[in-house]
């Protein structure tokens, strides 16, 4: 894995300004107020980006297989973007980054190149206690301000955004197979198995990342499937979630008030 080089000097300059008391945040007003309720103060909008050229790997028409080179590229590029975002947060002295979004952009001028970008809001605890994770880095989380407040009420603390990815080529069906099943209700075992395997690989990798953070659970897991620019039979399976650990002993949860809204 390539090491990220230092942040561009433009970033350094912007972050210096932020250290003088101005905060920026892409959180909505609701989220801003809830982050404050949870005992945190926003420090600044942080981001990391990497424009990455993905290589080529030969696929076999009739064989389902993981395309390791593409998996590696997706991992590597996201890791670069995330690490740079964490570096920016670290420079601000943040305890963590909330509301992290990971995006992939394609531009007309770069064939086979995609921009991987991670953005979020760096936050710091108002009472000065450290909320950094087991590795001494700011925690990252894709939870919204609302979810962040709620999870803090339950005594769990986020440790890090964990992800697993797997780029899989799903075999085409042979003509014989297709003709043999015309007019029948049958399961297509090769498709089923390929999709199964790809999803399991992605989820396992995500769990491995959570284990390194000594997390007790992963919340808000999403499983995304995208074909990017590879055609319909090559699919990236990406699972994302926030790894959490239980911090405090007993917590008394507020009993929710039940309501029926009268609007549509």
């Amino acid at each position: 894995m390539t090491q990220p080089q230092d942040l561009p000097k433009e970033a350094g300059h912007r972050l210096e300004e932020l250290e003088h008391g101005l905060f920026t945040s892409d959180l909505s007003v609701n989220e801003f107020l809830l982050i404050k309720e949870a005992g945190f103060h926003p420090l600044g909008f942080v981001m990391g980006s990497s424009i990455y050229h993905t290589g080529i790997q030969a696929r076999r028409w009739s064989k389902s297989q993981e395309l390791t080179k593409l998996t590696e590229a997706m991992y590597n590029a996201r890791e670069l973007a995330m690490t740079r975002m964490e570096e920016e947060a670290d420079q601000l002295g943040a305890d963590g980054v909330v509301g992290v979004r990971l995006d992939v952009n394609y531009y007309e001028w770069g064939r086979d190149a995609a921009e991987f970008i991670a953005v979020g809001t760096a936050v710091k605890a108002e009472d000065g206690t450290s909320h950094r994770n087991k590795l001494g880095k700011p925690f990252t989380s894709d939870l919204s301000g609302q979810d962040f407040w709620t999870i803090m009420q339950t005594g769990y603390v986020p440790q890090g955004l964990v992800m697993g990815t797997c780029v899989f080529h799903i075999a085409h069906r042979g003509i014989g197979q297709t003709l043999g099943t015309v007019g029948q209700n049958v399961e297509l075992p090769n498709f089923t198995q390929a999709l199964y395997e790809a999803r399991e690989l992605a989820m396992t990798r995500m769990q491995d990342e959570a284990n390194t953070l000594e997390a007790t659970g992963i919340v808000g897991v999403r499983l995304e499937e995208k074909s990017h620019q590879w055609g319909s039979h090559t699919i990236e399976f990406l699972s994302l979630g926030t790894a959490v650990t239980k911090s405090a002993g007993d917590v008394t949860l507020p009993k929710p008030i039940t309501v029926i809204s009268l609007d549509n």
């Binding site: 932020l18 920026t24 107020l33 309720e37 770069g110 029926i260």
Partner: protein
């Protein structure tokens, strides 16, 4: 047969009237594009809507700036920032004319063309009931609802912080492209160009907030993408509402947990393999 209309004179009259209050504000009806809920919320903190106000500014971009080059396209960034400042200024002035203290729910429409930048801002002027006339009106793209929430938490919006920057996309030589065609590799010059552009846009935004004496910028939105008329040029804009703590300290709102008993809408979407 009616007299032909002197279009030129009509337009001049219309343009002149923009700069003047139409009537004495207390005697006229209120216009507002706020919803009923928002109106009620404003009243709950002792504020009221005054009038719909509008500000626009068009700034020209010198010819030839979009043709090939490298680095930041400074004339375009400057034109953009100038247009936003101009539109916010006219909006603030109109707001002061109708004796508003600020404008909320501002809709921001920015149109960057090859030869000009067009910025239009529309919002509702608001003021405290029986308040004195302020020195300077604030402009904010927050909704009246968000304004109320912020007000209750002790914060006040002070203005629209805006930043833009435009860059040329770097080019790769034919040789490099060929050599890298089958590799997994980061394109460092592209990464750096995009980074620089984004940081410059956000720094402009921060600077405009600092100039207003802000303590923070909330609800920052970033938009980016190639320009439709020159796809090797990429534009970044970032904007948000600059805020300042007006109360002595942040007022905690202590939300309550509620559980709506409405049925959730279940969505199911199956993907197809072609």
């Amino acid at each position: 047969m009616t007299e032909p209309i002197d279009l030129r004179a009509e337009m001049r009259l219309a343009a002149d009237s923009l700069g003047k209050p139409a009537h004495d504000p207390p005697s006229r009806a209120v216009t507002s594009d706020l919803s009923v809920d928002e109106g009620l919320l404003l009243h709950s903190i002792g504020w009221e809507a005054v009038d719909v106000v509008f500000g626009a500014s068009v700034v020209s971009i010198p010819p030839m700036v979009w043709t090939w080059g490298s680095g930041e396209i400074a004339p375009a960034s400057d034109a953009h920032n100038q247009a936003v400042r101009g539109a916010a200024k006219t909006l603030g002035e109109q707001c002061s004319h109708v004796r508003g203290h600020g404008v909320v729910g501002v809709r921001v429409e920015v149109d960057v063309q090859r030869h000009h930048v067009d910025v239009e801002l529309t919002g509702t002027a608001v003021r405290p009931v029986r308040g004195k006339d302020p020195n300077r009106a604030f402009v904010s793209d927050l909704s009246a609802r968000d304004f109320t929430l912020l007000h209750n938490a002790g914060w006040a919006p002070i203005g629209l912080a805006f930043g833009a920057s435009f860059v040329y996309a770097p080019r790769r030589s034919m040789g490099t492209t060929m050599r890298q065609s089958s590799q997994n590799v980061e394109l460092t010059n592209f990464t750096e160009a995009m980074y620089a552009a984004r940081e410059a846009g956000m720094e402009h935004m921060q600077r405009s907030a600092l100039d207003m004496g802000a303590q923070g910028i909330v609800a920052v939105r970033v938009s980016e993408g190639p320009m439709w008329f020159a796809n090797h040029a990429i534009g970044f804009t970032a904007w948000g509402t600059a805020v300042r703590l007006e109360a002595e300290s942040h007022q905690y709102l202590r939300p309550e947990v509620i559980l709506p008993l409405d049925d959730a809408v279940v969505e199911f979407e199956a993907q197809s393999l072609r």
